[in-house]
């Protein structure tokens, strides 16, 4: 879907809603509740330095359509459908369509507890940290959306939850592998070579149809929220150094993403005491290739916390201080920027009618001179429109810091106006 088809999507969503309601009625299912909500966003992003790699443009901009359709029957069973479409004028690969969610939710009682089954495409979040989401692995990252890796592609799955007094136990069968999205030739925040979007390689003979399994136990023990997880299957993070780059028909060298079979154990914990939040996420991952394409088992960690001063200077303003330390056992062979990095941040929430807030955060490599700064501003303009301003400023890059060096000229400022309906 490459063209701007916002009205069509809305029309389709309305028709889908009508269709579901009609189908439900025809099957004798009593529809107790239904709702169509969502957002439309206009976004402009400017990279104020010339790109480091050939063909890169200095702007990205376009719009997002993200409706959300929800239908619930009298027994509490529900259907959620949330398609997503982005049009981007700067990079054709950023123009993309996804089904973020399309799942059926069933639930019932079991003993003193309950079971819940979600069938279909869904998004699942694990973790507690702010600077990165280390244990979070169920969904593929929609990397073209934002380099912060918080946007995720919908993941087809069967997700069974069993919760009772003793906690929450979840099992996941992940039936199809989604490829990570990467910027195209004209896009920013990419390696020197463009990542191939046609050819992809899998360690498993089943390719993208390998069924990945995952499980998680979580519970609140007084002030401590704890999660323990395991994932066994196709890595969400591709190894870009495992396969030789290939020449395409236009004579361009492309990086071929290779998805290995991995096993990851994860733990996440948060201690909440008065104004303190103390956080820990740790993983052990086996089977993945490192920065130079050699398989290397490793452990990684993010540990830190957050302290909030409420109502500073006798006002309604809250001031939050954040600090986290990221460590990756592979050191300079880590495949990401978090090998040994400190994250510090300040969050100011005015707690006014417009919910205005500012966040300033810095990620600093403790071994190299690399530092980057993120500045964010959010404010509601009306009951339906809201404004988001963001700047990513790459302040210094050490040439020896390979993962950062590729994107050294990709500082940007961004404006997003969102209409929520």
């Amino acid at each position: 879907m490459r063209r701007a088809v916002r009205p069509l999507i809305l029309l389709a969503a309305s028709l889908a809603l009508g269709g579901v309601l009609a189908a439900g009625a025809a099957l004798g299912i009593e529809i107790a509740d239904h709702e169509l909500s969502g957002r439309l966003a206009l976004e402009g992003r400017w990279y104020y330095q010339d790109g480091a790699h050939a063909g890169q443009r200095s702007h990205a901009g376009g719009f997002v359509v993200e409706p959300n359709l929800y239908v619930e029957d009298a027994e509490g069973r529900s259907l959620t459908v949330a398609p997503f479409f982005r049009y981007d004028a700067g990079d054709r690969r950023r123009t993309h369509f996804d089904v973020r969610e399309a799942y059926l939710l069933l639930l019932g009682e079991i003993g003193d507890g309950e079971w819940e089954l979600r069938l279909g495409a869904d998004r699942v979040f694990w973790g507690v940290a702010e600077s990165r989401h280390l244990v979070d692995i169920v969904n593929q990252t929609d990397l073209v959306e934002h380099p912060n890796e918080e946007s995720k592609l919908g993941q087809p799955m069967a997700h069974l939850t069993w919760s009772a007094e003793w906690g929450v136990l979840e099992f996941f069968a992940l039936t199809y592998h989604r490829e990570r999205t990467f910027p195209g030739r004209s896009g920013r925040l990419r390696p020197g070579l463009v990542v191939d979007d046609e050819r992809v390689s899998y360690e498993s003979a089943a390719g993208e149809w390998h069924v990945d399994m995952a499980a998680r136990y979580s519970h609140s023990f007084g002030p401590v929220d704890l999660g323990v997880s395991v994932f066994d299957g196709t890595s969400r993070e591709p190894c870009l150094a495992c396969e030789l780059p290939r020449l395409n028909e236009r004579g361009e060298l492309l990086l071929v993403p290779h998805y290995e079979q991995i096993r990851q154990f994860g733990v996440d914990a948060q201690l909440t005491v008065e104004s303190w939040l103390l956080k820990l996420e740790a993983i052990h991952r086996a089977g993945a290739g490192n920065q130079i394409g050699v398989e290397q088992d490793y452990a990684a960690l993010v540990v830190g916390g957050e302290y909030t001063f409420n109502g500073i200077f006798e006002s309604d303003v809250d001031l939050g201080l954040l600090a986290e330390w990221n460590h990756d056992g592979r050191g300079s062979k880590a495949t990401n920027v978090f090998d040994n990095d400190a994250f510090v941040g300040v969050r100011v929430a005015l707690n006014d009618v417009q919910s205005t807030d500012f966040v300033v955060s810095m990620l600093a490599d403790l071994e190299h001179s690399t530092r980057s700064l993120v500045v964010e501003f959010n404010r509601r303009l009306t009951d339906q429109w809201s404004l988001h301003l963001e700047g990513l400023f790459i302040l210094a890059v050490d040439e020896a810091d390979l993962t950062h060096y590729q994107t050294r000229r990709d500082s940007f400022v961004e404006v997003t106006a969102t209409y929520n309906f």
Binding site: L107, E114, E116, R123, T272, D352, V353, Q354, S355, R380
Partner: protein, 270 residues
């Protein structure tokens, strides 16, 4: 939670009336104002017991000094937890940018509340600190402390006087929050003697300045027993801002249960 607040206060009052009408317990000695205040609070709590659960819709209209208005729409669900504080779930509908955000509170009598926030955009459940009691609830003149449950154990009390209010007589009781982080030094509560409904609360800040006044109106009785105010108006005397909270669609003893007030339940809250 405003509802629990009003339920509790209403209960406080109705218990008092019951006790008075039965002429029990016989006063062995003169009751101190502190004992009387506490007794009223306890009686109200007793009257509030047994509601099971309820749901309601709340609309808040926020008005600044210039008269500009902004609207909030929240659905609330409350589950009685015998022996401990109630469990409450807020689901936000408006403003639309926070639509689907849900807020779960497990109130406790003897320790800090547990609170979780569900952020639908990331599908993330966040445990949040409950120490921000004085902070504004959604930019309104109600703070989390005002919205939260008024467990009897969270205050010390002092009965002040009886005085006429509307068609009936009100008891006026002063209560002092025990929490170090409370925004208030004291609150003064007017409750009618017949039905133990709260009609007015004055909030005094740490410096003892009269900060806010809450006025309650449009009471309705549910299940033939539980009084709920349909309109709560909070006026901030320092800023001139006000918030009118209208509560409608009260439904008692719904299908809600324990499982709707867990982190798993929070993720599917609508």
């Amino acid at each position: 939670m405003i509802h629990t607040l009003t339920v509790r206060l209403a209960l406080i009052c109705s218990c008092l009336a019951l006790v008075v009408s039965l002429g029990w317990p016989p006063p062995a000695r003169a009751e101190t104002p502190e004992e009387k205040g506490l007794r009223i609070a306890r009686e109200a709590r007793e009257r509030g017991k047994g509601f099971g659960n309820f749901t309601a819709s709340q609309t808040m209209v926020l008005r600044n000094k210039q008269g500009q208005e902004s609207k909030r729409q929240v659905r609330i669900k409350v589950l009685e937890a015998p022996g401990d504080g109630d469990k409450s779930l807020f689901v936000f509908d408006e403003p639309r940018d926070v639509k689907g955000t849900a807020f779960l509170i497990h109130a406790h009598k003897d320790k800090a509340d547990d609170q979780w926030l569900y952020l639908p955009a990331l599908k993330r459940v966040k445990r949040i600190s409950s120490s921000n009691r004085s902070g504004s609830f959604m930019g309104s003149e109600f703070s989390y402390e005002d919205m939260g449950s008024s467990e009897v154990e969270r205050f010390t009390y002092k009965y002040l006087r009886d005085e006429p209010c509307g068609d009936s007589t009100c008891t006026v009781v002063e209560r002092f929050p025990l929490a170090k982080r409370s925004a208030y030094r004291r609150q003064v509560v007017w409750q009618d003697k017949d039905e133990l409904r709260v009609w007015r609360v004055e909030y005094y800040d740490r410096k003892n300045a009269h900060l806010k006044t809450l006025t309650l109106a449009k009471y309705e009785k549910h299940l033939d027993r539980y009084w709920q105010a349909g309109e709560l108006t909070m006026v901030n005397h320092l800023t001139g801002k006000s918030t009118v909270l209208s509560a409608t669609d009260y439904k008692y003893r719904t299908k809600l249960n324990e499982r709707d007030f867990t982190r798993t339940g929070l993720k599917r809250a609508r």
